[in-house]
């Protein structure tokens, strides 16, 4: 086990390579990705289809192995783990939210959440209590006894979010969480994820090409052809959120970037008007 360094990074990816093979044809998915995500961040991976977003999430989430490189998540090098170690690592460290919800269809919403709690070793009653708590957190307490096929897409995704957070993970990885939802439901879901990020300080790493998701990010990482091509560094909020209920709506990432650029331009134009700063003799 690698001990975490002094930095606040919870995910560190170094020179990560991953190639898929179809017969004898190689399809490189990741070409030396370098990345670092801090604890409590709400980061978004953006990029076109085939840019390597999902593969990167799968590797970070210990769902897939890689060919080369280093992936340190919460102080552990996950590429050196065997199957069982990876499974246990996922169980105790990672929460997943998938594009197609991926709830167990034969279990009710409540049972879906209680199941992961029981995998962590909780007693049945305790796990059911925990499931109820998380269902209430995502405003689904009244629909806990419904099976996934009796819930709408948005409701299923809320249950998936509750399941992801019920094990108290360090990181939640969400792969295109709004892709199967309509715009309004997608926005609501992003509000929910942001609120949960604020409330519990859980690190979120989301892959998406949905503009609303990108707007919600505290850091945006753009991937192309399996490489990180651009990063927007974390920008401290210059204005307080207008509404605590839905910070994404009132303080989207792009607005904050625009505000930052406007301020910068204003400052530089003010400097130009004042003329050159006198040199000190």
């Amino acid at each position: 086990m690698i001990q975490p360094d002094n930095s606040s990074a919870i995910i560190t990816v170094k020179k990560l390579h991953k190639c898929y093979w179809v017969g004898s044809m190689p399809f490189p998915a990741l070409n030396g990705v370098n990345l670092s995500i801090d604890r409590g961040e709400f980061a978004v991976l953006a990029g076109r289809s085939g840019s390597g977003k999902s593969t990167l999430l799968n590797v970070i989430g210990a769902l897939e192995s890689a060919d080369n490189g280093e992936v340190i998540v919460n102080g552990e090098n996950i590429l050196g783990m065997n199957h069982t170690e990876r499974t246990l690592f996922r169980l105790h460290n990672i929460g997943f939210v998938f594009q197609s919800y991926n709830l167990i269809r034969v279990l009710s919403a409540r049972e879906n959440i209680a199941y992961v709690c029981q995998l962590q070793g909780m007693e049945k009653k305790e796990s059911e209590g925990n499931a109820d708590h998380w269902l209430n957190e995502v405003d689904m307490g009244h629909l806990g006894y419904r099976r996934p096929d009796q819930l709408s897409g948005g409701q299923q995704q809320r249950v998936a979010v509750a399941r992801a957070l019920a094990t108290n993970p360090k990181i939640v990885l969400a792969d295109e969480p709004t892709a199967n939802l309509d715009t309004k439901t997608g926005q609501k879901l992003m509000c929910l994820l942001q609120q949960l990020n604020d409330k519990f300080g859980t690190t979120f790493l989301i892959s998406s090409h949905d503009p609303d998701v990108k707007n919600a990010a505290s850091r945006l990482i753009k991937l192309a052809d399996g490489q990180v091509v651009r990063k927007w560094e974390k920008i401290p909020p210059t204005t307080p959120p207008l509404s605590k209920a839905c910070p994404i709506k009132n303080l989207p990432f792009t607005q904050r970037v625009r505000q930052f650029l406007r301020d910068k331009r204003k400052r530089s134009s003010q400097k130009d008007k004042k003329g050159p700063t006198p040199r000190r003799s």
Binding site: L63, T87, L88, R90, L91, F98, I104, L119
Partner: protein
């Protein structure tokens, strides 16, 4: 007409009281049954007899009484024979019947294996995504393996209970009338068998067949359960 123990040939007239059909034409053509006292008087044998037949409760329980008779009558001028030695052909038929029964059990096992393997593999294909989700969120592969194995056992226990229930009712219904196969009477005569078969369900046969199918179910469940542990998570999550 018959021959007395002293070699004298004698004849006697008897009134026919009925015709007994044993199921074996060879026996029916050559055998006539007369009361014991009539035979003793005819052959001038007094109260003596030439053969004594002792009937055990089961054809399998003859070893112990045979041993006791041998001990009790040793030294006397008796010849004590078990049915197997008395009529080796019947023994051969029974051995044939046992072998035939074993073949039927093997066929049943093969059918159970194929059926469960097929059902479980189809279920595995259909549940690939579900199993992928379970592994992704932290279910260990050993847990998946035992879950599928338990499912196979439950499947066979439920099927077995249903089969025994229906079979038991059928046996109960046919225990008096039997299954009449007179249509095939000629074939049965050849095998010294009664064309009316009375079905019998014993605890021994029931547990033997259930035990066999249970073992078969476990064997058939092993491969799909092992296959389930080899599921590629990211690929199974992409399936619909």
């Amino acid at each position: 007409m018959a021959q007395r123990p002293n070699g004298e040939m004698v004849s006697e007239i008897f009134f026919l009281r009925g015709i007994l059909e044993t199921g074996a034409p060879q026996i029916d053509r050559t055998l006539a049954l007369i009361p014991l006292n009539a035979a003793q008087a005819w052959f001038k044998m007094g109260e003596s007899v030439t053969d004594i037949v002792i009937r055990a409760s089961s054809h399998e329980d003859t070893a112990s009484p045979l041993q006791r008779f041998n001990q009790a009558l040793s030294g006397d001028d008796y010849e004590i024979l078990a049915w197997q030695d008395l009529d080796p052909m019947v023994r051969q038929w029974l051995e044939f019947s046992d072998a035939y029964g074993l073949i039927i059990i093997l066929v049943v096992v093969a059918l159970v294996l194929t059926e469960i393997l097929n059902t479980m593999l189809i279920a595995l294909y259909e549940r690939q995504k579900e199993l992928g989700i379970m592994i992704a969120i932290g279910t260990r592969k050993s847990q998946i393996f035992f879950m599928l194995l338990i499912e196979a056992v439950i499947l066979i226990l439920l099927g077995g209970a249903l089969g025994y229930g229906v079979g038991g009712l059928l046996v109960l219904h046919l225990s008096d009338s039997g299954i009449d196969l007179s249509y095939f009477a000629n074939a049965f005569k050849f095998f010294y068998m009664d064309p009316v078969i009375l079905p019998l369900l014993t605890l021994d046969s029931a547990t033997r067949i259930l035990g066999t199918t249970l073992v078969a179910a476990l064997l058939a469940g092993l491969y799909p359960a092992w296959r389930a542990t080899k599921i590629e998570i990211s690929q199974s999550l992409r399936t619909f």
